[in-house]
Amino acid sequence: MITAWLMAGLLFTPLAWAVLCLLLDFSRGRLVSCLGITVQVLVSLGLWVAVAREGGFLYGLGGWEAPLGIELRVDGLAVTFILLTAIVAGACGLHASVYLAPDNAWYRYFWPLFWFLWAGLNGVWLGGDLFNLYVGLELLSLSAVGLVALGGGINALRASLRYLLAALLGSMAYLLGVALMYGQFGTLSIAGIASLLPETQALVGPGMAMALMLSGLALKTALFPLHGWLPPAHGIAKSPVSALLSALVVKASFYIAARLWLEFGHELGSTAVAQLIGGLGGAAVIWGSWLACRQSQLKQVVAYSSVAQIGYLFLLFPLTFAVSDTASLQAQQGMTLQVVSHALAKAAMFLAAGNLILATGSHQVAGLAGVSHFLPFSLFSFGLAGVSLMGMPPSGGFAAKWMLLQASLASGQWWWIVVLVAGSLLSAAYVFRIYQASFVAKTGVDDFYHPPGSLEVIPLLLALMSLGLALVAEPLLSVMALSLETGGAP
């Protein structure tokens, strides 16, 4: 009974707050949104606890069951990501409420778009229906594009147009795959198709459908070499928006791709495809980190670092295909930890970068000279988040990479270890580059703007969470592993 209330609250709150904030101006929307963030965090936490205690369940919307209606799949992984979304989006929302200047008229549209974005994220984590996921993805992309374009100049418009076109093409490729799947199976439920797949003889249609869906989602996740749209969009947006996009939005399309692979990959995948996707992921790690080292603008460094960190996620594909169950499980756990730790660390990093830009008034890395002397606090959260990205213990990034490393060893695919090590070294290089720039001595005068304390605390908390993730990894992973079948506490 309580779960029914929680589910209704979870689905209702972001959408309702979006409409409510549409009617208010920025300052009032800020008050209302803080209330909404509290409600949503509580509801997400409640749902997480309920699922951790009693196991996952299916939620039929409108009271209709799967092939005819839309069923939401509320399992351990989904509620963990919902909780993660609540924490990260809540933090970004609070940061934005101080960061954005209320006197700009068009910021009143920030809150409605923010809430629609949150609704889209929850829809994607829970979705169990191929077409519903398409609508959820579009909800997400359009609100993200709206946020990037908000009140922007030429560069913001160009970045958001590029983002919009890439996102639209990606969704259309995905939808074409869905159309083929429906033609073949007559149902849109992921679980339904997964159960029908082993009995299907002609796999040409579903195979093509899978290829279309995966390539569409890879474009939306900015997998190398389809990543061209990401750095401009994430670099030009306002910092809280960049944090939301990098931490959560790109993960949504990856999550769908991973779900499809884990459900259908057994029948529809092949070693060549798995290695190809893994290879692209590996290339993204190296290329993204390399470009991050070479950027002159602070936020571009962070944005290219996202391209690299997304690459790690795609190692899931080769590490779960045709390997032992233990290796596959380790890879899945590594992937989920990487999603969680990168979301926390990257949100912290973008918010901290926003503070640094606010303080120095410059977008350039070189503009950071003297920061370490006068604003050590702002730099501290940036560095802590960097530790997690590098994968040093005891951070969440370390736990994730350790799991992936073990999975590579267990499945005999040693070449991914090279990628993991090289990626860590390169990320250390770009984090230290920022540090180096900030330690350059400057004239002895403190002419920096000092951001309010609340702006400083939020990225610090996120970075600390990302850093301490490995310490709570055990209980987290046991909840994530709760599928629908295995109810009950571990």
């Binding site: 209702f12 309702a16 009271g63 374009a149 007559g186």
Partner: protein
């Protein structure tokens, strides 16, 4: 050489796409679908509250899709008006004073309003429904606007924003009220299905027309109050 390559590569890629798609379509067409959704749908039609299967799917069986779809429309509307500057709505250049257009308007607008109403009403048992009616209604607004009627409610203000969100808000309220009554989110209470669907369709028609019209109006830009190059 580079130019030729720039044409040939996309050409080859698209042809490969068509061939692969054609092959998979051919393969799929050769087999029967293991799940027969139309049959399931026909079996549940009497519980759906409407007589037309497409409307039943849209507003009952898969109403969550429709709810999110309206949200997408509202997002587009919000982003549209966030780009618009008030002055462009009153741009004299956009007004025509064509007597033929005026004469046509006098005939067309009542007819189009009637058609919109018919489409909405027809949705219950034949092709038609909220979106079609909303699109016609928006077309009506576009005609009026081009004809120089100012349509003051389209200025970015509270009225416009209420109009954008109204249909979505009513839909959402119905969805959550049924959840409060102990049913699933979006489940209609028994016996109330038909009136609720009709209410939702009506307000949706109005809001869809508002969103489309707002997007039409906010597309032209002029120099008045262009946003500055502000950075974070």
């Amino acid at each position: 050489m580079k130019r030729i390559l720039a044409v040939t590569l996309p050409l080859l890629a698209s042809m490969a796409l068509v061939l692969l798609l054609g092959a998979s379509l051919w393969s799929i067409a050769g087999s029967q679908t293991p799940v027969n959704l139309p049959e399931l749908l026909a079996g549940k039609m009497n519980e759906s509250g409407v007589n037309h299967p497409v409307t039943a799917v849209l507003l009952n069986f898969r109403s969550y899709d429709t709810l999110l779809e309206i949200a997408v429309l509202v997002i587009a509307g919000i982003t549209g008006i966030s780009m618009a500057r008030t002055a462009s709505l009153e741009d004299p250049e956009l007004r025509t004073s064509d007597s033929l257009l005026y004469a046509l308007q006098r005939w067309f607008i009542p007819l189009m309003l009637l058609l919109a109403g018919y489409l909405l009403w027809a949705g219950a048992d034949r092709p038609g429904g909220a979106f079609q009616a909303g699109a016609v209604l928006a077309g009506c607004g576009v005609l009026m606007r081009l004809g120089g009627i100012p349509l003051g409610f389209l200025r970015p203000g509270l009225l416009l924003r209420v109009g954008l969100g109204l249909g979505f808000a009513v839909f959402l309220l119905v969805a959550v009220l049924s959840a409060m009554a102990g049913e699933a989110f979006l489940a209609y209470p028994p016996g109330m299905t038909k009136p609720l669907i009709i209410t939702i369709e009506t307000v949706l028609t109005f809001s869809i027309a508002m969103v489309l019209l707002a997007l039409f109006v906010s597309a032209p830009v002029n120099d008045a109050g262009a946003p500055g190059e502000d950075d974070s």
